[in-house]
């Protein structure tokens, strides 16, 4: 097990800068997600850690070892590939046993090596030592595939293949587990249960895990910490709640959950609140503004919709007037699109049965608490 440290890593392909000055400090036993849109550099970062790409500059440490000069096959990073990359000519057992065979191969004399090659290449001469067999079966039991050891990988379902890939990576007791979009090939339902499986196994083994995904929900629900990447750079690192409540840029606010982003100008301070004015709104925020022109971030679920004639106490909350353009009933919540000045705000309200849904064209009052208005 080990921590992973990346210092000032840059990677260029010809003229294209894929990674720019990446710094990461992942603790031992941490479940860490690299999150970002496609082409943001998250997979390249992972491939650099695994040793499939060499950084143009900067350094990578796994544990206390600087790994830059260590070839991929000696880095001891277990990787779960996006396509799983299971060996199609081997059955489940042989797939999982592969790394153990290689370990033995490297530790044997040439004559023994021939025997190991023979069992890697043919099934007939495949005599596995008992300890190796036991180890493989243990890990297969762990991922609940002990009854499928003799199956070809092509005969397995997507979820089972995923677990074989996981078992194959775990059996070598890697210093760090790397997962490249491991859930993207599964259907919605399986994805949810697989999320729990992976998280449970990670917690259970306490293995340092780096997880690449473009799905913010996946990253937020599974990881201890998330690094959001964009255009080859890390934009923000933090726990899921930090990222959600304190996004450092509008990009993150939008990428991590849905946000209403408004352009505003700071007018001054009043009773400890910052006053921001924009097209069609005037808002008070508990955030201290660092500059005059700011982005105002408001999460849809932090807004309440009231009738136009209701009386609201302005001292504790902001009130904005608007017109409902569309209302969408989504089961437990109702989502409104509300026109405010030149903006269309998205508002999510919890729906309890029998409550009124505001119709399209209706004038409404929107309320947001001061501390829910974020200025960046």
């Amino acid at each position: 097990m080990g921590s992973v440290k990346i210092k000032n890593m840059t990677k260029t392909f010809g003229d294209f800068t894929a990674l720019h000055d990446i710094n990461l400090d992942i603790e031992e036993g941490e479940f860490f997600a690299l999150l970002g849109p496609s082409g943001c550099g998250k997979t390249t970062t992972m491939r650099c850690i695994a040793g499939f790409e060499n950084p143009t500059s900067g350094s990578i440490y796994i544990g206390n070892r600087e790994v830059e000069k260590i070839p991929a096959n000696r880095r001891n990073c277990g990787m779960v590939f996006q396509s799983y990359a299971l060996f199609p000519h081997m059955n489940v057992f042989e797939n999982v046993a592969y790394s153990l065979n290689i370990k033995q191969l490297n530790a044997s004399n040439p004559i023994k090596q021939m025997g190991i090659y023979a069992r890697l290449l043919t099934k007939r001469f495949g005599k596995y030592p008992d300890d190796l067999k036991k180890k493989v079966m243990e890990i297969l039991e762990y991922v609940e595939l002990e009854n499928h050891a003799e199956r070809l990988t092509s005969e397995l379902s997507g979820g089972q293949q995923q677990r074989v890939a996981l078992a194959r990576a775990l059996v070598m007791e890697p210093a760090v587990l790397l997962m490249d979009e491991p859930l993207s090939n599964l259907d919605q339902k399986l994805r949810h249960s697989m999320r729990n499986t992976i998280r449970t196994i990670q917690q259970d083994l306490g293995i340092t895990t780096i997880f690449v995904t473009h799905d913010q929900e996946e990253a937020m629900s599974m990881a201890d910490r998330v690094a959001v990447m964009d255009k080859g750079q890390i934009v923000q690192i933090g726990t899921p709640t930090e990222l959600y409540s304190n996004p450092s840029t509008p990009f993150i606010a939008n990428f991590v959950g849905t946000s209403n982003i408004l352009k505003g100008t700071v007018e001054g301070e009043e009773n400890g609140f910052t006053v921001v004015k924009g097209e069609g709104f005037l808002l008070r925020s508990s955030t201290k503004a660092k500059k005059k022109e700011v982005d105002v971030i408001i999460r849809p679920e932090h807004v309440k919709v009231e009738a136009a004639d209701s009386v609201i106490d302005h001292a504790t909350t902001n009130v904005i007037e608007g017109t409902v353009i569309m209302s969408t009933y989504l089961g437990s919540i109702v989502r409104y699109d509300v026109q405010v000045g030149s903006y269309q705000l998205v508002v999510d309200t919890t729906y309890s049965s029998g409550a009124n849904i505001f119709e399209e064209g209706k004038k409404v009052k929107l309320t947001v608490d001061h501390e829910r208005v974020l200025l960046i």
């Binding site: 695994a50 499939f52 000069k69 070839p71 096959n73 396509s83 060996f87 000519h89 592969y98 290689i102």
Partner: protein
């Protein structure tokens, strides 16, 4: 230092070895032939690197460099007429084959002509039979005592219908035994061209023949030209039929080069002829490559087009009769060989005077060695080419090694006889004296047939995704171990398909065998060739039948493997 150590892994060593193999056994011989074509005498390039004395004598020879040999080819009769005749032969064969194949291909691709399946199956025969056997078969049929000649005379003809020992004879053999090389590309060309264009033409009022000439044929033209260029190279490089059939007064490059080297040991003359052969063959190969690169056979789309096959009774019957005639001649030629192999004597009459299995007894008692040699040499070449081709396709597909791709396809353009001469010249002296050994023969076979193997292994290599290999490395395997345990097994189908092809073509190989095989390693092809020269026709026939049967059996095995793979 560390960096150098990192990049210097097992795979790099393999790559260096492969380059060394090609460099030593292909590029160096070709280069040294090129040098000898100027110096006029054997030049030991390899020795010059190891021995200062040889180096000095090489320098001495370089001083005598002259264009004399080149002058000879463009002036005077000898070499120039050989070049002229070879070009004329290739040109004539190409034109005739294209003309013969167009109706045949049209019939197979576009009509419901009777016996279509039989005709397609019979088109395989010429591909199985080595040309020196087919040339010999033509002697049995059309020679002075041949049965065709006898029928012809009985019908009132004078002399021979077709003198096999002539240019016309060589042309005829090549036409009837090389036409399948052009046929299948042409069938493909006729199949892909868009039928709706033809229907449009008919709809506009054009007659059928008019549509064929002005719409169908132009659409198939890229296919026609590309196959014409291919046939040209094949005919130009063929050694088997000219060496058996060409009379003394008919100069052909391949025969001339063979005589210079085996009869007169005229190194300079053989070298210049070799250089000319390689240049001409490479030029036409390059033209074909250039031509097919730009064109993608017209209107090919992913959508399978339902084609309406022509059912016109008169047309299909005429086409079928014509096609049967074309495919029947190779079949009759082979049957003639088979009949001769069981005949006591055959020559005076239409049919043999009696039948016997003695010729088979003879070859199985006295020539068993040749059969064993063929199998062992082919196995050697097979093993070597599997190893080399697997790694070559690995480097080409995974490391984008365009250089290696190019080098591995050079053997396609070097005629067998030219390559044989180059090897003899390079390895007949120290420090690497290999001429007259089985090793050099196996290496020659391997290099000549490597492109087939590479093509087939490269296909299956492309089908293996990169991440499967990365997974193996990630699990601790070195790139070399990953190649052996993961990539190798996954390439097996491609290797199996290529292996059969290599084995068959090595057994059929005439030019390299005749030039390079030492007596104790004489393969079947050489034995047959020598029997024909010695006029021992009956044992030649029996041996030919054994060879063809061996090839057929292997082809059958290949088909079975192929079917299993697809299931």
């Amino acid at each position: 230092m560390n960096r150098i150590k990192n990049s210097f892994n097992g795979l790099t060593v393999v790559k260096v070895l492969i380059y060394a193999f090609f460099g030593l056994f292909m590029l160096l011989p070709l280069l040294s032939v090129f040098v000898v074509s100027f110096t006029g005498e054997p030049t030991n390039l390899l020795g010059s690197l190891t021995d200062p004395a040889i180096f000095n004598s090489t320098l001495e020879k370089f001083k005598n460099i002259s264009l004399d040999n080149y002058k000879r080819i463009f002036s005077g009769k000898g070499y120039f007429s050989a070049l002229k005749n070879s070009l004329a032969l290739a040109f004539t064969v190409t034109i005739i084959i294209i003309l013969v194949c167009i109706p045949l291909a049209y019939g197979i691709a576009r009509t419901k002509m009777p016996f279509k399946k039989t005709i397609s199956a019979l088109c395989m025969i010429p591909l199985i039979v080595p040309t020196f056997i087919s040339a010999y078969a033509f002697i049995i049929m059309f020679g002075r005592a041949g049965w065709v000649t006898q029928i012809y005379n009985a019908l009132g003809g004078e002399g021979m219908l077709l003198n096999p020992y002539s240019m016309a004879g060589v042309v005829a053999v090549q036409v009837f035994f090389f036409f399948p090389y052009a046929l299948w590309p042409l069938v493909a060309a006729f199949k892909v061209s868009d039928i709706s264009l033809e229907e449009a033409s008919q709809n506009l009022g054009a007659k059928n023949w008019f549509t064929f000439i002005f719409v169908t044929f132009p659409l198939a033209l890229p296919g026609v030209i590309s196959s014409a260029l291919l046939i040209f190279t094949v005919s130009f490089s063929d050694f088997g039929s000219p060496i058996v059939l060409a009379p003394k007064e008919l100069n052909l490059l391949v025969v001339e080069a063979y005589r210079e080297i085996s009869g007169f040991f005229n190194w300079g003359g053989a070298a210049i002829l070799t250089v000319v052969m390689v240049i001409v063959a490479a030029f036409f190969f390059y033209l074909q490559h250039l031509y097919t690169k730009g064109k993608n056979y017209g209107s090919v789309s992913g959508k399978p087009k339902q084609q309406k096959l022509i059912e016109n009774k008169l047309l299909t019957r005429v086409l079928s009769g014509y096609s049967l005639f074309v495919v029947l001649i190779p079949l009759l030629a082979m049957l003639s060989v088979a009949l001769q192999s069981v005949a006591t004597t055959w020559g005076k009459d239409l049919l043999p005077s009696g039948y016997t299995l003695n010729h088979y007894k003879t070859i199985f008692s006295t020539s068993m060695g040749n059969i064993q040699n063929s199998i062992m040499l082919a196995t050697g070449a097979l093993v070597l080419s599997v190893i080399i081709a697997t790694f070559v396709s690995y480097f080409v597909v995974r490391q984008n090694s365009a250089k290696l791709d190019f080098i591995a396809s050079i053997p396609l353009v070097v005629p067998g006889i030219a390559f044989g001469i180059a090897l003899i010249q390079t390895f007949n002296t120290m420090p690497l004296q290999l001429t007259g050994t089985a090793v050099l023969l196996i290496i020659a076979y391997t290099i000549r047939r490597l492109p087939y193997m590479v093509r087939s292994t490269m296909g299956s290599m492309r089908a293996i995704k990169q991440d499967i290999e990365e997974a193996a490395v990630n699990l601790g395997a070195t790139p070399l171990t990953a190649a052996i345990t993961i990539v190798g097994p996954l390439m097996l189908p491609g290797i199996a398909a290529g292996s059969v092809l290599v084995f068959i073509t090595v057994i059929k190989e005439a030019s390299v065998s005749i030039l390079l095989a030492p007596p104790e390693w004489a393969p079947m092809s050489l034995a047959i060739f020598q029997n024909i020269l010695r006029a021992e026709y009956y044992s030649a026939a029996a041996m030919s039948v054994v060879l063809v049967v061996l090839v057929l059996v292997l082809q059958g095995i290949a088909n079975i493997i192929g079917k299993k793979q697809r299931l």
